[in-house]
Assembly symmetry: C2
Homo-oligomer: 293 residues x 2
Amino acid sequence: MDVSQIAQIRSFNRAVTRRVGALDDSYLRRGRPLGEARLIFEIGPEGAGLGELRSRLGLDSGYLSRMLRSLEAQGLVSVCKLDGDARSRRAILTEKGRAEHAAYDALSDDLANSILEPLSVSARDRLTAAMAEVERLFAATSITVGEEAADTAEARQCLARYFGELAQRFEEGFDPGRGNTTTKDDFIPPMGSFVIARLDGSPVGCGALRMIDPATAEIKRMWVAPSARGLGVASRMLHKLEAIATGFGAKTVCLDTNRSLKEAQSLYRREGYNEIARFNDNPYADHWFAKRL
Amino acid sequence: MDVSQIAQIRSFNRAVTRRVGALDDSYLRRGRPLGEARLIFEIGPEGAGLGELRSRLGLDSGYLSRMLRSLEAQGLVSVCKLDGDARSRRAILTEKGRAEHAAYDALSDDLANSILEPLSVSARDRLTAAMAEVERLFAATSITVGEEAADTAEARQCLARYFGELAQRFEEGFDPGRGNTTTKDDFIPPMGSFVIARLDGSPVGCGALRMIDPATAEIKRMWVAPSARGLGVASRMLHKLEAIATGFGAKTVCLDTNRSLKEAQSLYRREGYNEIARFNDNPYADHWFAKRL
DNA sequence: CAATTTACCTGATCAAAGTCAGATAAATCT
DNA sequence: AGATTTATCTGACTTTGATCAGGTAAATTG
């Protein structure tokens, strides 16, 4: 790993914590412990279930309960049943609580403003763009790639978005039925597999595998959501699928792709795939690739 | 202020604090309170004076003293006199303490690594570049612009760097003596002024003003350090100088500049200066500007 | 040289933060 | 229906972080 990149991340962490500590300080200036302030903020104008609050703030159940009692005593929060389940309860802000919430909200805005204010217009644009980039790439860190069933609602949704995109990008259009030789049963172990990439639980990519003979696996349905492109999700899914193929005894992985999917082609080449002759009669395929495992 | 930019900053703060909180957690996993861990980290392999530690960590002197006593009891730190002043003391790490410091250092590296590791090489480059940009623009937030004497060592250093840059950039070269009609006394109120822009105490820019008649001020010596360009420092110094000129009774501000300083020319135009006819015989000037206050 | 300031230490005290072992009541399982 | 699980609450307790008043010895000031 590049030492200067590690140094950059550490220096960034230092610079940013200093800045964000300022927010905690301004929260404290309202004369309430930080824990309570955060709780008010997290409950929000719409209220929140206690379990949700516990997991979001990482609090012990007794601790949360006591803080809520304190906020109730201050007349800021009321905790009511009102859910299907009479055990679980929900915290909502009173009118006074909503005013406090708004005050904390304003403090957060003030901090943001104080960061933007001394900057020129173009510097502001550059700062927010860089922040968005950092945030997006941070998110990439928590993307997971896992084998899942291909017939769940979420898997189907990925495939629908994939097909939708093909229809948009192929010059000749795209009809999922035409030339399709696979059924959903093709992606079930041990003759196939299906992986989904997830960010905070929501799918942001998928990929499928099926064995076309005992030594050859074919990769299909590789798709990454537009919001998650450029984060290396596709290559992580590809590695996962190759590992699964190896487990199935495959010696070779092959795949096809359409001429308009340029990024896909460069991904495959980068990952060690070589272009080969047509090996199927997929009417939408223009290039065929294979890689020895 | 742009609402979406404020939202971006707030969302960035949330995303980043979550990530950086992970570092505190990993520090805690070494079974020592965060305060002590930070103290070990801050003392560092070279040791540090107690006053320095107090101001860097923002600690009460009693609190620091007690933590040092605790670290001494654990055999991690030793506090010795050894300075010119027998009141002030210096904390240094024992061998065991240096080992602890190295362990904390490794944890910081691990966090940085865990952020980089899932990313592709190009994504890593983009992340660190975006982080550097955020850091630089954050730093801009704490740049101050203030009126200072023009004959201090630091002011002179700014001017030397300014002249050095002119020598490099002017096609015809630059000799500070040639055609220079100002002396250092020109930049002393109430007939002139000198401002310095500082980032964390170090000068990153300067600018000067002198009255050439009771209603006209001339701006000179505008310079921004290469490391601080693109942060709006020049326009902040310009505004400061204009405000000072107004205070001196000036109705007009004028200035000259060399043809090779393109950024300067566009800055002046952006700030409402109009090109006028030659008003002095500065041999290095190619453009003359003025602005009514 | 006496008075003051500075740099650090000690002891007392506090609130905030966090943990843990039950208690209670509703929901779910067998 | 009885046993178990789940969601929350209560009370007891600990640690951490922080503040403050006063104390000591060295350095500086007038």
